[in-house]
Symmetry: C2
Subunit: 346 residues, 2 copies
Amino acid sequence: AEIAVLPGDGIGPEVTAAAVAVLREIADRHGHVFTYSENRIGGIAIDECGEPLPKATIDACLASDAVLLGAVGGPRWSDPQARVRPEQGLLALRARLGVFANLRPLRVHPRLAGLSPLKAENLAGVDLLFVRELTGGAYFGRKTREGDVATDECRYSVGEVERVVRRACELALSRKGRLTSVDKANVLETSRLWRATTDRVVGEYEGITLEHQLVDSMAMLLLTRPSAYDVIVTENLFGDILTDEAAALAGSLGVSPSASLGAGRLGLYEPIHGSAPDIAGQGVANPIGAILSAALLLRHSLGLELEACAVEAAVDAVLATAELTRDLGGTAGTEQVTRCVIEQLR
Amino acid sequence: AEIAVLPGDGIGPEVTAAAVAVLREIADRHGHVFTYSENRIGGIAIDECGEPLPKATIDACLASDAVLLGAVGGPRWSDPQARVRPEQGLLALRARLGVFANLRPLRVHPRLAGLSPLKAENLAGVDLLFVRELTGGAYFGRKTREGDVATDECRYSVGEVERVVRRACELALSRKGRLTSVDKANVLETSRLWRATTDRVVGEYEGITLEHQLVDSMAMLLLTRPSAYDVIVTENLFGDILTDEAAALAGSLGVSPSASLGAGRLGLYEPIHGSAPDIAGQGVANPIGAILSAALLLRHSLGLELEACAVEAAVDAVLATAELTRDLGGTAGTEQVTRCVIEQLR
Ligand SMILES: CC(C)[C@H](C(=O)O)[C@@H](O)C(=O)O
Ligand SMILES: CC(C)[C@H](C(=O)O)[C@@H](O)C(=O)O
């Protein structure tokens, strides 16, 4: 299998290197041949090619079976009013790959519960899977600036809602069968279309319990009853906000992976943390988010469920017993944690 | 002064009655003459007049010095696809009154800290004031439905941003002087206009420290470092989500008030809780959110700062020592808590 690696900016190169080391070990042990191509995206692509997503990167991704991304952005390119910005590369890549479903699983390892701002009793039993629509909504709608008025259009078609809700249904069926759809149907027309479409699509499946929540209520419920939810599906911008809230609730951004999937097998995998420019290049970044993203890559793009589980079990063992990185209260560096994961694979 | 009372649905009538009882006591003790008119809004207005905001209600509000609202909505009118819905009445009222700045103060009374999902150490020192833009954005932009495509337009003019940011600056100056503006400037054009305008407006004031946060980061920071913020200003939809998240963090929706202010003195005051149809009519609703909203009414629409402080001090005393309502773990009813507040005023 061919894997396009896009290290990006900040700690991106360090954490993707860790994930690739784990993938190499998996290939060795299970007799697979993975080949890797390294490609530019984000700030480094702006610096070296003048654009955040060079054509060569797009071509390499489209010719691959999966894309593993680090992070994009940093203070050098942080002016939101600038014409060319690192995150444009990420948004354009999502659109070009057609990865409309962004999966963010969220569980809290017992050893990390102490890092959460939530009381232990509120955190107990949390096991969430967010499915965020990733290629529609206000992110990709028409934007205008005329005189002193700006607009952003949020736009959804029935087909765009259908495909992401179907994906959420399939995932719910492989879990507890509970689906929560989040919208703002008391105010937004796109949300009313979202809700009606969701009702219809879910009706085609057996064994799914569907609940609708308004986005403001959901922002509350994530804090008061996070363990009451299973799969949560929502549109792009609401998903952006709620998944970050949920990540904070878990106590550490460093350990959470994400998978962005489309109609085919090609997927985009990245840790949910950012480029963390303040600690870049120091060898102290937490590699676990990237390593667990590689596990999702094995599962969803390569169909290697056993191998994915092996990586997840190794990470679980490391989280339970090994010295961890600074963000988790430990003193280990990126390489030490990565070595521990690889040892656990053996 | 003339006060338009809009009880609305569910527990709305019970909590506005409590707030009016407190206002009557204040008027008596301080020698003011307040007159009250009762008007329909929301579900009850749909039932009795066929529309959620009858013209008579608008006229009464516009002829008053302040509007005190309970809550709107309930299961009888909860279909988001229905043509006429209770919350349309609330949205139309906000627009008609031109109350563009929605203030939601958030503090956690020590006795209630135990109700918060957050650990005590994360909650310590939280003292937030949200200023949410209330009459613009996707709430009031053009909505379309053509074939199987729906759109919502989010729209902001420089003037709309200026006036709410000015209000936030004035409030920040009366507090710790720290202002956090929340947007999604890395994706939305309206956010880029918001950010540039905010930079310029804040530059006109001395003594304000301005920080920008992206809405997804802010959703995290509210959990991890809530005490680091003072005044938070943001657009309508982000404000809807973040203020509910913040309310959940405080542990109880029942005690939080809100004030919606425009260019003149006329303001709209309402507790942030909803109509709670499950407990309506039982005499157990928590009146404190409505009573504290009445305090904001005294302060912002009637200019009675002393009287506002008296109500707030009485509520503080009740929260510290009295039997509270069920939502706060007590056994008292609405009337008992209201009587306690009135006694504390004496
Ligand atoms: C960098 C930014 C454009 C991006 C988004 O808003 O989607 C990020 O916040 C994310 O969640 O992946
Ligand atoms: C009822 C609803 C339309 C309203 C809003 O979204 O503004 C409510 O959630 C609020 O925050 O006051």
